[in-house]
Symmetry: C2
Subunit: 237 residues, 2 copies
């Protein structure tokens, strides 16, 4: 939110031992390409609540999220907010046709990104169709997720929205770091509400209701799925 100090690493990082190497955009690059690629991106840190880029900003860079979680959102003129997604490590941000970002992105907690200046990155892609193909894959995956989210926003009840969110979030974390028995929720209730098209009060009430029924347990910074089958039933309905 507040403009603040951003740490830029003085270099000395290698793609070859990058945590997201195997599933981010760069998974399409071979050893030789990787060494060249290394010079294009630089690691940048952002603190809690800082904005990485804003909607309507001229796109000067693309970002590969390495560590942390980001909220991606759009605002209406009167301040209503819709979170269009949460980004996790491996997600690639900033592609657009207009030359301007079409959503804003904030760090939720400390974040590390690999930042690429637009022009050199564009040149690098130019003669590397496999990288382009990888970017296309990521876009198509995003598109599919976006459509699923439209169904949630347009046609699901509050209970279903919350249940679906918990399962989907757990699933993404699972893919990233294996099955945790508790699901960390680094984002605020307001973020969850703005993601699900609800108010903060409704999200809170739904959580408490699920807890009273013994379906989940609300713990510090997250929840624990006591009865995943019950949650799945709610989400499926």
């Amino acid at each position: 939110m507040k403009p603040s100090v951003v740490t830029i690493e003085p270099n000395g990082h290698f793609c070859s031992d990058c945590a997201v190497r195997d599933f981010a955009v760069c998974s399409s690059l071979d050893q030789a390409e990787l060494r060249e690629f290394e010079h294009l991106g630089r690691r940048v840190h952002f603190g809690t609540g800082e904005t990485v880029f804003s909607e309507e900003d001229i796109t000067t860079s693309f970002y590969n999220l390495l560590e942390g979680v980001m909220r991606l959102y759009k605002l209406l003129p009167d301040g209503r907010r819709q979170i269009v997604g949460f980004a996790l490590p491996g997600d690639f941000l900033g592609m657009n046709l207009s030359g301007r970002h079409n959503f804003s992105a904030d760090a939720i907690g400390p974040v590390t990104v690999c930042q690429f200046a637009k022009a050199p990155f564009g040149r690098f892609i130019e003669d590397r169709p496999h990288l382009l193909r990888r970017i296309n894959e990521l876009a198509i995956r995003e598109l599919s997720q976006a459509r699923d989210h439209m169904v949630l926003l347009g046609r699901r009840s509050a209970d279903e929205k919350v249940a679906t969110f918990l399962l989907g979030w757990r699933e993404r974390l699972f893919a990233l770091k294996g099955l945790p028995d508790t699901v960390p929720l680094p984002m605020s209730r307001q973020d969850i509400a703005d993601y699900l098209g609800l108010t903060i009060e409704t999200v809170s009430r739904t959580f408490t209701k699920l807890e009273r029924h013994g379906t989940i347990e609300i713990i510090h910074g997250g929840i624990s799925l006591l009865d995943p089958a019950r949650v799945e039933a709610l989400a499926a309905a």
Copy 2:
């Protein structure tokens, strides 16, 4: 809906005089490529209400919409439907990562598509990065639209939804065939409702309300924007 007779043209069509030549995927191909491309696709007609492909179907083809309008939608197990978009001439359908369609597509009125078998099309792309780039552009454009639609579904009132829909639809038709003074609405009220995350009754009431205020006029098969500025104000809010 009903499985029915689909007309397949016996050939004799040329990409070079195709109506969508300049803005569809094929806009990225040069004369020589186009002649080769011509053999990959074949024109297929669908009648009103016919399903071109269904969610979860194995993807055997991609489709380039040439004429008509299609509804793209997802269903929940209990039958609730969310229309994720309306396709117009020039739209490219069928891309996915899973090998299965992730939404269903019906013809709204008579439709002509250019159908490409998946494998040969994939092979054709292989060594033509400019075509891949074009497909990527289309995906990124769709993604941006999808995000806009999430904002509408999650954060806008019924009035705003309807106003935004009318303007957006008019805009798309405008880009296609120039400014019409009446906006044709080939889709049913139910389709509009399922697109906007509303009920048919709410859509109908909102239309009548707009008409009573002299903002629009409801005509057979469409509406006329009597006071576009008023509609824009409603949509902006």
